[in-house]
């Protein structure tokens, strides 16, 4: 059986260090990295666990990709530039080293695209496979976004389309099909909105990535900002395949990893234009209100009933 050190070596060689900001990385006990003066550090830890966040339908490359993608999605929503990451992998001793290497490949491919470098990690035995990624990014202090900046009359914008990953999860219930459609791809290979994250800080007042479902994540923004929201049902970016399953999928389906943000109208218009120029799908789906609570409005502006289920909850 390959030793711990061989496992580390085989994993790490997929992540060559290229930037001069990394003074010590994999192979040292601690990573030593040089922050940019005048920037703040933005950090996030996310963990994927076998049977909870990924199932047998996932290829090893997809597990590696998704583990990094979900953390990058949070950095993007914060308007932070991805810099470095650490990964803690726990797995059954009998897990093949080739499996680990394929995980590394999927993760490394995304890391290169995102310009983020692996600087540390930990391997441990466990009875099930899990991958915890801590992603570190930087941003100018005035440009970091969080949940708390939304103000009444701000527009609510969302990237991409909603409910895809949740539909994909349903379609994967009976195993990995031959044909990987858009919904299944959204579940297996969520794409963090890095390009949007790179410009978001100039325009938005608050932002969050959609991991637990639109209603729940918008609810977090509203709660922290002390505001409410109106959503325009007809403006929600939902593909027909999702709409056929019911709007609940778009409102409460988790793992979209799209970005929801708010911005004052003029800045929101400028952000929509900037996104359009870059080919980033971004749509206005509602408006922030002073009155608390989230209301769904139909095409005539009349309130509609909300689906009962609020979003993904780990211990429900």
């Amino acid at each position: 059986m390959p030793s711990e050190f061989e496992r580390i070596a085989r994993f790490v060689r997929h992540f060559p260090i290229r930037s001069r900001s990394v003074l010590a990385g994999p192979g040292d006990d601690c990573a030593v990295t040089r922050p940019r003066p005048g920037h703040v550090l933005v950090s996030k830890v996310d963990q994927l666990v076998e049977g909870v966040h990924f199932g047998p339908a996932f290829l090893p490359e997809e597990i590696g990709h998704k583990a990094l993608a979900v953390a990058l999605s949070d950095l993007a929503a914060a308007g932070a530039t991805p810099r470095w990451f650490l990964v803690a992998i726990a797995h059954p001793p009998e897990l093949d080293v080739a499996f680990l290497e394929r995980m590394a490949k999927g993760m490394a491919h995304l890391a290169r695209r995102a310009g983020i470098e692996l600087v540390g990690g930990n391997f441990s035995r466990a009875s099930e496979l899990s991958v915890a990624v801590t992603a570190l990014g930087e941003a100018p202090p005035a440009r970091v976004l969080g949940r708390s900046g939304a103000r009444p009359s701000d527009w609510i914008l969302v990237s991409g389309t909603l409910g895809e990953a949740a539909l994909g999860l349903r379609r994967l219930a009976s195993g990995r099909p031959r044909r990987i459609d858009a919904a299944i791809r959204a579940q297996l290979r969520p794409t963090p909105r890095l390009e949007l994250g790179a410009i978001l800080g100039r325009y938005a007042s608050a932002a969050i990535d959609l991991s637990d479902g639109l209603l729940q994540d918008l609810g977090h923004v509203c709660a922290r900002s002390g505001v409410g929201a109106e959503l325009f049902a007809t403006a929600l970016p939902v593909r027909p395949a999702v709409r056929r399953e019911g709007l609940e999928l778009a409102l409460a389906g988790g793992e979209d990893y799209e970005i929801l943000c708010t911005a004052p109208p003029q800045r929101a218009r400028a952000l929509l234009a900037a996104a359009r120029r870059r080919g980033i799908p971004l749509a206005r789906i509602g408006v922030v209100r002073a009155t608390s609570g989230i209301r769904l409005l139909d095409e005539r502006g009349e309130p509609m009933p909300l689906p009962v289920r609020g979003g993904w909850e780990h211990f429900a």
Copy 2:
């Protein structure tokens, strides 16, 4: 069953944010922290898994303590000042919230002592309990220590005593006894050498914390520094209870979380004196040599056989 958000709230309230370096912490998606200008970031992830790093003999407070302690130990060996940490906890849904709170208490107590603040985290379902801690510290660039700085004729120093935690593990094999002796305490409640870490950067040429056993960890320093080492068997700081079980425990027993460091003779003497003034146990146990390999010498300076087992290996 308490919701994910209640679990987070109950855990997080044990970690009030006190420092102004934290701009966004628990409750936000990303932590936002302000690095000190002119400092580099030192980061480390460590994970404890049920049945591997802790067993039924551990109290919840001790699991929380140990999860943070092992990461702090690495920061101390790097000569870094602990600043912020993130924690990813995976656990069976039926795990009691009171258990989580007791884990938080044990972790919070150590965090306060270390001056490190919880800024982010993640809860997930899993079939077994695991805790991954990412610790972030800072240091002036010229003072960060790693594995690669040891030079021939440097003295080899080690803090505390060796083999305690491994002896403690043996004593815990039949369950938690009424009387918690020094060895059992070393296993249940390892104490990171924070005070030593705070001064180490001024004196040492290389350092590592002892997690996998003296021979293996010293071997890492030698390999990365391109040197060898001579250890003085009679100089090893070993309590009689450990010595009775055989020197192997001191040489290859894991989880001591003491600091092994090297320094040129004059600086080593100054470090020994500085440690003595602060009441930190630190002993000279050997010397760095140009010839590769680790040799154990008896009281007459004659080579002695080394124990076969090299140290802790996760997938052995």
